[in-house]
């Protein structure tokens, strides 16, 4: 006890400060597709993971450098309600705020305080209840094979392509291939119509194109659309698929003068029925 009170952080095992909440807020919003999230902090940084069923997972990752101040003692991990976290970051609407995050110990709430820049006499503190949680699923190793198709695309351009996909479709079919069509998305399940979009590998939106095999896989359109919000604030996106069609979207978001923060999606393909 005596040792702990000497630390400038007192009893707190995790304290972090951010100068601007905008990017963090956007990143949290972009993964809010399910109620519960798992927060993990270690010396590597902060990770918040959201899953839905076993078919989609999103992880926000912020390295310590993305924070103005970052302190963690041991490895901390707890569950929390994502919409509560998101609501809390949105309390002042579009007004820019700085933020402080503090966590004492297992079972204690996560304390987030917002300080809006436009009025130094105003602040708000949210104490968010935390709970125990399971470990997130690890899809990562599946995509470390050497035969993975990898495409790096400029975020805003890809966002537009995804955004314009016909919303009434039930499924999307993705093709990544060394040959034409290099990258193609086709709608499945629309009455009386089929829509597709194709991007040539020579397109200026492609930053890197490295496909060794032709992979054709279908995904639930609803799950692809869950990435839209993240895509809108991404500067760069890496699209990776392995031979069975496990899809990873790795998005890079650039904070205001800060280091990059990352959002990673894993989406499981639908089984081929025909």
């Amino acid at each position: 006890m005596a040792e702990e009170t000497q630390s400038p952080y007192g009893e707190y095992k995790f304290v972090a400060r951010l100068d601007h909440i905008k990017t963090f807020n956007q990143a949290i919003k972009s993964i809010c597709f399910n109620d519960y999230g798992m927060l993990q902090v270690s010396e590597d940084g902060l990770r918040i993971t959201v899953e839905q069923g076993k078919s989609i997972q999103a992880t926000l990752f912020m390295p310590p450098g993305a924070f103005k101040e970052f302190f963690v003692q041991d490895f901390q991990s707890f569950g929390l309600k994502m919409n509560v976290l998101s609501e809390c970051l949105n309390l002042f609407g579009p007004a820019d705020c700085s933020l402080r995050m503090m966590f004492r110990d297992q079972g204690d709430p996560l304390r987030i305080t917002l300080y809006p820049y436009e009025d130094e006499d105003v602040s708000t503190e949210c104490a968010i209840k935390t709970m125990d949680c399971e470990e997130p699923i690890d899809y990562d190793k599946n995509l470390k094979d050497t035969d993975v198709n990898v495409i790096f695309v400029k975020g805003p351009n890809l966002s537009k392509v995804f955004h314009e996909l016909e919303k009434s479709a039930e499924e999307f079919e993705f093709v990544t291939s060394p040959d034409r069509p290099h990258f193609k998305i086709t709608t499945v399940g629309i009455m009386q119509a089929v829509f597709s979009v194709e991007v040539a590998k020579t397109s200026p939106m492609m930053m890197m194109f490295n496909c060794k095999q032709t992979v054709v896989a279908r995904y639930k359109s609803q799950q692809i659309r869950m990435t839209n919000k993240a895509m809108q604030s991404a500067t760069k996106v890496a699209i990776k698929t392995n031979s069975i069609g496990l899809l990873e979207l790795h998005l890079v978001m650039q904070g205001e003068g800060q280091e990059e923060i990352f959002v990673q999606f894993f989406i499981i393909p639908l089984l081929h029925t025909d």
């Binding site: 509560v84 436009e118 006499d121 104490a127």
Partner: protein, 278 residues
Amino acid sequence: MKFRALMQDPLYMREFQAIVATLAKLAKDCVMILGSRQMHFIVNEDQSSAASPLVWASIAAEEYFPEYRMEAARPDQEYIVLGMSSANLGRAFSVLRGGGVNSCKLKLQRIQFPCISVIASVLLSSSTEAREVVHDVPVTIIPASDWSAYVVPRVPNSQLALSLPSLRLLRSLIDKLKNVSPSLEFQASFDGELNVIATSEMSTVTSRFQKLLIRNLVGSQQETSCSVDSRKASAFFGALQLPNDELTIGIDREHSIHLQIDVRQDVVLHSILPAVCM
């Protein structure tokens, strides 16, 4: 029974439009009380069920209307009291929002039923002549025997009234807090601090506004607080269409909160949020 009024100043017309638009956002119907020198609007005077708060606006006629003539039905009566759809009224005055309105007349008349005709004369860029746009807002005339139900509310007492210099942050905050908790606790202290507290099963949100100007202090208590329905609070803030940013919050301990916006000297918008049991 006669009523006629005329507005000509574009700034005043826009202000008047903003008041009416605020009322239109708050409730379906409103009551217009026309006195010899004052005009009042009341919405949600019946507080029994609605999720929106009681709001009223009192306007000194001479502030806005260079011409204002009111004749009650009988010489011994002081008012004309009318009920109408606030949405219709809002739409009728929305023409004042854009520029180019020369003048705007209000006239109580009977067409097939009584209505307030809003006659705007709009100057066009393409032509030298003005175009007349007329909206006839149907009204019901409320007989004197029922007036007791439509008295302009009195500003309630409060132990402490604080003046907030800027509405912006509070407005966004209250809008978000209504999703956190169905009730909000307002705590004010004599050293000029206002705390707004929302508690839910999953979180507690405490917002602090410091260094506020004290408008009114009664008694020697250091602190006073009141919990109100967050939907009502949010409805009031969400409806505001006025350019004014300053707001006075008066707290009557565990009784009510009074919100006041001084549009100008004799044009004031009020709201009362009654306390809820905690």
